[in-house]
């Protein structure tokens, strides 16, 4: 119970603080990584799709509350992207999925989708075109987010920090 429920929430709190205070300092032209999604993807690949959906929903709710944004936007985007990340879950390949560069690829794919969905549901300006949403609100933040999966691949592989 501690490992699957309490631990991700405990890790979420400092990550959310970093996301809201430090990440803005390293954002490039408004493109910022999403550390919370790295956490959700990691736990989804470790515990499965259903677990990931619930975790994404819950952490999305907390991030919506703490960030002052629209309630439901992160909830929805994390839920959907955790569901997609769950397709990469394989009981026999947990290490391969979370401790190799394949993890970065999963984060890139699902992180891009997450950023795209978040932008699509929270934006009400009809002048913003789909190409912009896919490239600048989806792929680039996804790419940036995947870079933040790198330390996890390097440091968590054998030490079992998470």
């Amino acid at each position: 119970m501690f490992d699957n429920i309490i631990k991700p929430v405990l890790i979420f709190i400092p990550l959310a603080l970093i996301q809201l205070t430090v990440i803005p300092m390293i954002s490039i032209a408004g493109i910022a990584p999403n550390l919370i999604f790295v956490l959700i993807a990691f736990y989804t690949l470790k515990n499965g799709q259903a677990y990931g959906i619930i975790l994404g929903f819950f952490l999305g709710f907390l991030l919506d509350l703490f960030s002052g944004g629209l309630i439901g936007a992160f909830m929805f985007s994390f839920t959907i992207s955790a569901f997609i990340a769950g397709y990469f879950y394989n009981e026999n390949k947990i290490e391969l999925n979370t401790e190799t560069f394949f993890f970065l690829l999963i984060i890139f794919i699902c992180g891009s989708l997450n950023a795209f969905i978040y932008a699509a549901v929270s934006n009400s300006n009809p002048d913003i075109n789909l190409f912009f949403l896919i490239l600048e609100e989806g792929l680039l933040p996804g790419l940036y987010t995947s870079l933040f999966g790198l330390p996890m691949v390097i440091f968590t592989s054998k030490k079992g920090i998470l």
């Binding site: 809201l20 509350l65 002052g68 944004g69 439901g72 936007a73 934006n123 009400s124 300006n125």
Partner: protein, 277 residues
């Protein structure tokens, strides 16, 4: 039947979960501006923002600081500007007195610090360390020393959420200072733009943009930015004007809340006009 349903739930539990949780998320999203959701957000914000403030003070040592020389230089320029303004003010006061015009240009400023930021391309939000205990109210404009930053959207006891100009959900009535051309300023994810200005109107690169007299959100004449580009649409009838804000919005950390609210009298008059039409 029960057995079948159980088997269905076991086989498709991920899909069922996804649908249920997605529906809940979207329902909450549609009710995000409702008072109950606002109360919940305000409560969470008030508690979490305290942690953000502590983290922010720790990380502030890494933030860019303006050097003393730069400040001295700016101070000298401001001193000259103030001197010039004083002259103009006395002249203006005399003229206003002559035509019995009411002075509406003085509003108190409440200094505030940004403690956290939500950075996305289209959803610029700040959280500042001033709230209802400092007499901040929803709808008050937020400025930096350079120009307009945004608008107070939610208020907790000691913290508030600011929707910045870099948010695609904020549209503002603006005017070009030189020619009094009015338009609606919005954010397209990259730039601040004013759309649908007829090409016959006099608009030039370098024109200053400020809040309009017609704005129901902001008091008039708050500086916003400067025109950097004007493009015509396909038919050549309308301009799209690109504005660069005076303030470096993503980098701002020290802000001021203008202690003014949209006039209820003006709003009531506008509502009456709408009803009559």
């Amino acid at each position: 039947m029960l057995k079948f349903l159980r088997r269905l739930a076991a086989d498709y539990k991920e899909y069922i979960l996804l649908i249920i949780l997605s529906v809940i998320s979207l329902t909450l999203l549609s009710k995000s501006e409702k008072p109950q959701a606002k109360h919940l957000k305000t409560f969470a914000l008030g508690n979490f923002a305290l942690l953000s403030e502590i983290t922010n003070s720790l990380t502030s040592i890494f933030k860019r600081d303006i050097s003393l020389d730069e400040l001295k230089h700016e101070n000298a320029q401001l001193m000259l500007e103030v001197n010039r303004m004083r002259k103009l003010r006395s002249e203006n006061d005399e003229l206003r007195e002559m035509i019995a015009f009411r002075d509406t240009s003085r509003y108190p400023l409440i200094p505030a610090k940004v403690i956290s930021k939500l950075v996305t391309k289209t959803q610029g939000n700040f959280i500042i360390n001033r709230g209802s205990s400092d007499e901040i109210k929803k709808g008050m404009p937020v400025l930096s020393e350079k120009g307009l930053i945004g608008l107070i959207m939610d208020v907790a006891d000691n913290y508030s959420v600011v929707r910045t100009l870099n948010n695609s959900n904020l549209n503002i009535a603006v005017t070009l200072q030189r020619t009094n051309v009015d338009g609606i300023l919005s954010y397209d994810g990259k730039n601040l733009v004013i759309k649908d200005i007829p090409t016959t109107y006099d608009v030039q690169v370098g024109d200053r943009v400020e809040t309009s007299d017609f704005s129901s959100l902001f008091p008039p004449a708050i500086p916003i930015g400067v025109v950097v580009k004007k493009e015509s649409n396909v038919l050549g009838l309308l301009h799209i004007i690109t504005i660069t804000p005076f303030a470096d919005i993503p980098a701002e950390n020290d802000l001021f809340v203008l202690k003014v609210l949209p006039s209820k009298q003006i709003n009531d008059l506008e509502m009456n006009l709408l009803k009559q039409n």
